[in-house]
Amino acid sequence: MSTTLLEVSDITLRFGGVTAINDVSFSVDEGELFAIIGPNGAGKTSMFNCLNGVYRPQQGTILLNGENIIGYKPTRIAKLGIARTFQNLGLFTNLNVVDNLMLGRHMHMKSGFLSAAVWFGRTRNEEIAQREACEEVMRLLELEPYRNTLVGLLPYGVQKRLELGRALAMEPRILLLDEPVAGMNHEETEDMARYLLEIRGQLNTTMIMVEHDMPFVMDLADRVMAIDFGQRIAIGTPEQVRTDPAVVAAYLGGDQ
């Protein structure tokens, strides 16, 4: 029996009079691939922003391994092991691929300004050691051909992959994927599915994914939660959620 890693209870997030998330609860087990689906504006990305500390929900608790992380700053949550990719890419476009991955390793490094200025000793050793760790990520995601390319010049699909790589470089316990295959063609989507399965197989990373591509979600996810207008309307296996009348109504319209 797997253990619960993340437990979200009764989260409510309001912006003024607008309730973006209304009393949503769910839990994610260690090693699970959990998907959140829902129509546009349902509150999926807001949920991610609560999980990694960008927004602070007014009510509820988020327990990561038993520790309530509500109110923690994003950097602290990152150190506790939650990594994330963005819907519209959050890469540093003026840096090359290696530097972006090295930034993923930031928390695992120590050099400050003084030791960096001196370079020899700690900083140099650290750079070499961490460079090796980045290489492993590049190998896993087949990013080697782009090593020294400026990220802004890379095709969209590769940028998406690199962002996944940067999150992986953090060695997270939970990976939040915000629409990992949005805007990708069929082939790129299949590649991404393969990479996610490979990550699961090799690293057993817990993943929470927001995605609109239903076949992708239904094929990959262990469990799916559907939300609409900030409320949880269904949770369960992909099969259960797909046939849930509330979910069908949310997507296709009609009364419940």
């Binding site: 990694n52 960008v54 700053k73 994003p74 950097t75 990152a78 150190k79 990594a83 994330r84 963005f86 959050g90 890469l91 540093f92 476009t93 003026n94 840096l95 530097d99 090295m102 930034l103 993923g104 930031h106 928390m107 490094m109 120590k110 050099s111 400050g112 300004f113 960096a116 200025a117 001196v118 370079w119 900083t123 140099r124 650290e126 750079e127 070499i128 460079r131 090796e132 290489e135 940067r166 999150a167 953090m170």
Partner: protein, 436 residues
């Protein structure tokens, strides 16, 4: 690909600053130039330009770390040069009576303090004040931060005017900071039996500091803190989410930038041996912004070539005007006197024909608008030959226009500055004879 001449086989190789033979040749050329220039360029005038440009280069590296790498616009840079200058003047200045410095009552030293000490003190005090001011910048960014940082200059000028026991106040400060390391006196340098002038000695001192500051800064920007700074600049939310504490890096970048500015200020005090509170004004700050725009935002090397360009260009124009080579321009306070010079028509003719040639070339290449613009300029220069000795503008006004024109030109044509132009030239040589 460029890599065929610089195959990397280990990670240790990959993190090297000087990797290829070309890189090492570049380093050798720089070191050789450092040793040779003061022997070849012996005139105080040209060495003076290079020395002042060197001081500006150090300050510009500091600003580039803050603005270019961390994305924090600042017009308060001049204040930190002032801080460094008065630190150098206070601790390193030579006084008629001996002065005693007590450090928190722990120990006391008789002043003036030696040069390495006052340079480090300037950096430390600059960093401390930078770290104190930095947090105020956290809530602001972009233009708002730039405007607020202007306030720093005005507050600074006021403090410098009022705190007369340290700064000399309105009666200015005239000191002669110790500029010796061991037996090397850079004002009166005598090495291996050769005697050097003050300007030559200062060249060795100032450009040594330029190279050191450039190297340390390059090390910062190519490792963890530098990457974090650039992450803050490019996307601050994404930086937070991967564990980069953006507030901390903004403040630290502010402190490091201020420390470097203070070192530049200390060297300026040592070089000019004089400081007035109005010296550290908004224009000096703007000059640094111009330097990094022209040189290249987000490059260390660009800060140096930008400083030389921005400082030397008006000086060269002044020199040309004084020598009677500049058409239409008269020396401020002087009269136009170039009856003996055939240089003006030659210069105008060369520029005019050159521009017309460029116009023809661009026309055939298909870019009509550029061709027309340069063609008109060329014709104006050619038609102006008979009137070349008619003075219409003073050299200072002309330099003011030139300063603005340089900034506008670079922002429009090459926003990445001279550094980007240099990299393009270098790459085209590296790829030779294949263009891609």
């Amino acid at each position: 690909m460029a890599s065929n001449r610089s195959l990397v086989t280990t990670y240790a190789d990959d993190v090297k600053l000087w990797r290829t033979g070309g890189d090492w040749a570049g380093l050798a050329a720089i070191l050789l130039a450092y040793l040779i220039v003061p022997h070849v360029v012996t005139s105080d005038f040209w060495l003076g330009i290079l020395n002042y440009a060197g001081i500006l280069a150090i300050g510009a590296i500091g600003l580039n770390l803050l603005t270019g790498y961390t994305g924090q616009a600042s017009l308060g840079h001049a204040f930190f040069l002032g801080v460094g200058a008065y630190t150098a003047g206070y601790f390193g200045g030579q006084y008629t009576q001996s002065k005693e410095f007590s450090f928190f009552g722990l120990f006391s030293v008789e002043g003036p303090l030696p040069m390495p000490v006052w340079i480090v003190l300037a950096a430390v005090i600059g960093a401390l004040i930078g770290a104190l001011v930095g947090p105020f910048a956290l809530r602001l960014r972009g233009n708002y931060l730039a405007v607020v940082s202007v306030g720093l200059v005005f507050v600074g000028t006021h403090i410098f005017k009022s705190w007369s026991s340290v700064t000399g106040g309105r009666s200015n400060l005239q000191v002669d900071p110790v500029s010796t390391i061991g037996s090397l006196d850079f004002r009166d340098l005598n090495v291996l039996g050769s005697q050097y002038t003050k300007q030559q000695g200062m060249f060795f001192l100032i450009w040594f500091m330029v190279l050191i500051v450039a190297l340390l800064s390059k090390n910062i920007v190519r490792s963890r803190p530098g990457r974090a700074m650039q992450a803050v600049r490019d996307r601050d939310i994404a930086a937070e989410i991967i564990g980069v504490d953006t507030a901390r890096y903004k403040i630290q970048a502010f402190a490091v930038s201020s420390a470097i500015a203070a070192v530049a200020g200390a060297l300026m005090m040592n070089y000019e041996q004089f400081a007035s509170p109005d010296r550290w004004d908004l224009f000096l700050s703007i000059q640094f912004v111009a330097i990094i725009i022209v040189g290249g935002v987000g490059t260390i090397f660009g800060s140096i070539i930008g400083a030389v360009t921005i400082w030397a260009t008006p000086e060269v124009v002044k020199w040309l005007t004084g020598s009677g080579y500049m058409p239409y321009i008269y020396e401020t306070g002087g009269s136009i006197n170039r009856s003996d010079s055939a240089m003006v028509p030659v210069l105008l003719g060369t520029i005019g024909l050159g521009l017309v040639a460029v116009a023809v070339w661009r026309w055939t290449a298909g870019s009509r608008s550029v061709a027309i613009a340069t063609g008109v300029l060329g014709l104006v220069a050619l038609l102006g030959i008979p009137f070349g000795d008619t003075a219409i503008i003073g050299v200072d006004q002309f330099n003011g226009i030139l300063f603005g024109a340089l900034i506008v030109l670079f922002l429009l044509v090459e926003p990445r500055g001279l550094a980007a132009v240099w990299i393009r030239i270098k790459n085209s040589f590296r790829m030779w004879p294949f263009s891609y």
